[in-house]
Symmetry: none
Subunit: 317 residues, 2 copies
């Protein structure tokens, strides 16, 4: 049985005439008769009752007509859906992000924009550390990843789009003498206890702080560890020490805590968007385009005068 049979049958059932149906289908009447006969033989049921003068649907034919119409409609729908997907308007995108990403306004903006513009695309979000994301993207378990620059060189098959370039913020108790300064040099932190993510959490910020401190000539003293940003900030408020977080966390206000920029120009963190280099999916392309759009949009809004620290959308592909 082929769709052709169903199309022919529906035509005959609607016209209740082989001749008129054949005209509508732009074929001759004899082949139509034959095809309908073949259909009935294959279905194993008489669908049409014919005399030399008229054609009528049998009970089986009525039921089959309804089903045939549904099959045809569904098959057309399937084509349309596939075309939408081809244009990047439908499908699924699996996107990874690091723990710190949800706090960047950019992230929320991009996700929302994308949801709005491509409502037929299912977005699946998964929190994963940078290195795990890269593995998952290569294994086709993720399509895109919001990541931070890893310590190790990135795999060959992964393409990167730099999105933002944010300063690192020092998180201080308001009572600290350093809170009176506008910006703080890293060397001034010598001896202070640090509140950090656990070492094995896989976050890029832990080794980065170590590097910065070492460059300033000392080893940071780890005072406490916490697995969540809000906990870290709370511990700082409680006077347990200082911490360093990406700029995006400055929206998390808390009594007794102040944020100060670090003087060191190397004290920045980048937000990258990773993808398979060979991935030709229009969904992915559209997402990246949108992310860039959102970057420049937020850059302009942010502070057009003060020359915002942005990554300039450089591609490393």
């Amino acid at each position: 049985m082929e769709l052709r049979h169903l199309r022919y049958f529906v035509a005959v059932a609607e016209e209740l005439s082989f001749t008129r149906a054949a005209e509508r289908l732009h074929i001759g009447q004899p082949p139509l008769s034959q095809q309908i006969q073949a259909l009935e033989a294959e279905v194993g049921a008489r669908l049409l009752e014919r005399s030399k003068r008229w054609v009528r649907l049998t009970e089986a034919g009525k039921l089959f007509l309804a089903d045939a119409r549904r099959v045809l409609a569904l098959s057309e729908q399937a084509v349309l859906t596939a075309q939408r997907a081809e244009r990047g308007e439908a499908g699924e995108l699996r996107i990874g992000f690091t723990f710190s990403t949800p706090f960047t306004p950019l992230f929320a903006r991009v996700i929302n924009l994308y949801r709005q513009r491509f409502p037929q695309v299912t977005l699946t979000l998964r929190e994963l550390a940078t290195l795990h994301q890269i593995d998952a993207i290569e294994a086709h378990e993720l399509d895109l990843g919001f990541i931070r620059p890893p310590e190790v060189p990135i795999a060959e098959g992964i393409g990167i789009t730099e999105l933002r370039h944010d300063p690192l913020l020092l998180v201080l108790p308001a009572s600290s003498p350093l809170a009176r300064k506008k910006r703080v040099a890293i060397s001034e932190l010598q001896g202070l206890p640090f509140v950090m993510y656990p070492k094995n959490a896989g976050t890029g910020i832990y080794p980065q702080i170590f590097r910065l401190c070492r460059a300033a000539g000392f080893v940071p003293k780890i005072g406490m560890e916490a697995g969540e940003a809000s906990t870290i900030i709370g511990l700082v408020a409680a006077g347990c020490g200082v911490s360093v977080l990406p700029d995006s966390f400055n929206r998390m206000h808390m009594e007794g805590v102040v944020y100060r920029p670090l003087a060191d120009p190397a004290a920045t963190t980048e937000l990258w968007l990773a993808q398979r280099r060979t991935d030709s999916s229009p969904l992915v392309a559209a997402f990246i385009a949108l992310a860039r759009e959102a970057v420049s949009e937020l850059d302009e809004m942010d502070e057009p005068s003060r020359a915002p620290k942005k990554a300039g959308r450089t591609d490393r592909t």
Copy 2:
């Protein structure tokens, strides 16, 4: 486009190899390649990504695969329906039910009554979780479904008939100190391990237990998961924890297990009958009428004095 194209595409998508798919289809590999190319040209979308080494589905291909399967299934269904009509059978009702339904006396009663009264109607029964049933009904893969209230709002096109309103039962090891009480409050379950259906099984009872516990001020501790009621009861008997099941399971006796009602008045579960709202089939209408009949019949039998907990056959259509 013909069904042949869909059959071929599904084969390739399942085998992810033209060669193997061709073998399965009993045709040569070259014509298969050609047909797939023709299909892609007609659909206007690339469905398969091929290298010389492997074949992979594109995003469009994934969506098209799902639709193609549905088209093929529906076309086969159409043939069966027509054949049944040809044999003079009045039709077919495809009815879904949740794992817990067969234990309700109501269910057995309705099915038997219907079989008796409409012997020419073929009843096809399928066990499916509530949410899957709703999808299947919308996709015309089921006509009716015995379901439990889902967490999420129910789809627009689905009509509901409330049948029963049963208490939830606590399943306890007979050795438990709680087994000495006549009824148990949910708060007394704090700290006990729960034996539950897997979270993603789609059953409504999982989130309901969570809600009840949260209302009682604690988070349930999941001790073990099992996909079958008998297994769950077995695990309870083995002392692995407690569980909560619909009242209807009290017929399943097992050594070392006792059932106790829960004190919380919110600890009830409803049995609903779902249908397509647009479904005008007289078979469906007759079934629903019969179900209501059976409800009031059982209500009277049950305990006319003690005011049985029933749903009063309210319609939410």
